[in-house]
């Protein structure tokens, strides 16, 4: 029963969270914390913190975390499945429509309008990650005590390496983790 409940709860979270991980937060809050009481507010905040520290979408992380703590591995599976089921179905339907009508002039127009917007939204997401990485309190300032110079150095070095040598990005991120981690611990 708990498995069905979890599946249904996360099905709603998956179905109604449009536009990126943070859109899922109020839904997770209302379903998981307020409605079912599967997490306390403190645990919910912890899930967010850990989600920042582990790879993957917040909704998936929350689903796995809640499922695991409330009903073990089977619970985690049910919650995660619920979370991805709606998007899987909707995405496949939209993809079918896109590939069927992509040669139509209206569809081409829509996509011509969307492409530059997508670039802009990726840029916007990148900007918030950059601000978060370089300024601990989220306010852009070049004062010596406000800016994280280790992060700034890693950011600039990574960008130069990426632009010039075009290496595998995963290697750059892993190297930044090792070098940056050592710098934070030692300096």
């Amino acid at each position: 029963m708990i498995y069905v409940q979890m599946l249904l709860s996360f099905l709603q979270i998956g179905l109604f969270s449009f536009g990126g991980g943070y859109a899922a937060l109020p839904l997770i809050d209302s379903q998981i914390v307020k409605l079912h009481g599967w997490l306390t507010m403190t645990e919910f905040t912890d899930v967010l913190t850990i989600s920042q520290m582990t790879p993957g979408p917040i909704a998936i992380n929350a689903a796995t975390f809640v499922g695991m703590r409330i009903a073990g591995a089977a619970g985690a599976l049910a919650a995660t499945l619920g979370c991805i089921l709606p998007s899987t179905v909707v995405a496949i339907v939209l993809a079918k429509i896109y590939y069927k009508y992509r040669e139509m002039s209206v569809m081409k127009g829509v996509m011509n309008g969307l492409r530059p917007a997508v670039v802009a939204m990726i840029a916007s997401a990148g900007l918030s990650i950059m601000i978060q990485a370089l300024w601990a309190d989220g306010v852009v300032s070049f004062a010596a005590d406000k800016m994280d110079f280790i992060a700034a150095a890693i950011f600039i070095a990574s960008l130069i390496v990426l632009r010039i040598f075009k290496p595998n990005q995963i290697i750059v991120m892993a190297a930044a983790g090792v070098i940056g981690g050592a710098a934070y611990l030692l300096l």
Binding site: L15, F18, G19, G21, Y22, D46, I50, Q52, M53, T54, P55, G56, P57, I58, I60, N61, F65, M68, A76, P86, T88, A91, L94, A95, Y98, R102, S105, V106, K108, G109, V110, N112, G113, L114, R115, P116, A117, V119, A120, I122, A123, S124, G126, I129, A133, I150, F155, I156, S158, L162, R163, Q169, I170, V172, M173, A176, G177, G180, G181, A182
Partner: protein, 191 residues
Amino acid sequence: METQKLNKLKLFLTLFFSTLKISAFTFGGGYVIVPLLQKKFVEGLGWIDEEEMLDLVAIAQSTPGPLAINASLLIGYRMAGIAGALVTVLGTVLPPFVIMSVVSVFYIAFRDNVIVSAVLKGMQAAVAAVILDVVITMAHNVIKDKRIFPVLIMIAAFAAAAVFDINVVFIIIICGVLGALFMRPGKGEEK
């Protein structure tokens, strides 16, 4: 027939392991996966061109649920139909699922570990660089066609998202409608 089967198997394995590896490194929200997918499938494997990749990301954003899952799924679907979509979803879900399952057991120790947080802080700065790198390449491609409309849309959408914090759903709808009205092929704007 045998070689066809073998090629199909190879395709599924490549889809699975590529998304698995990429997903394990998408720290900090769904958009981070886009540059990684772009690098692998557009530049590395050359399976999808950049324009189609942007279309797939646009579709992923128009779909509810996590962007990272949707984007991988669409690439899988594009390459190998519904079976391909299931393979890439599995590849994308597995790393966070496994990591989170383990972390949920001793999460307080993980959350408060100084080494973990130092490494992650270092990585976050590189993640920002990875996104910026791809944005530079993509924005350049929008600008180099020297058409005013796409550039205006790009600037307006950036302002809407970054400055005014407008929900992406609205940005998508408005830009899609503008495109349908003013950017259809043969309207003078488009090739």
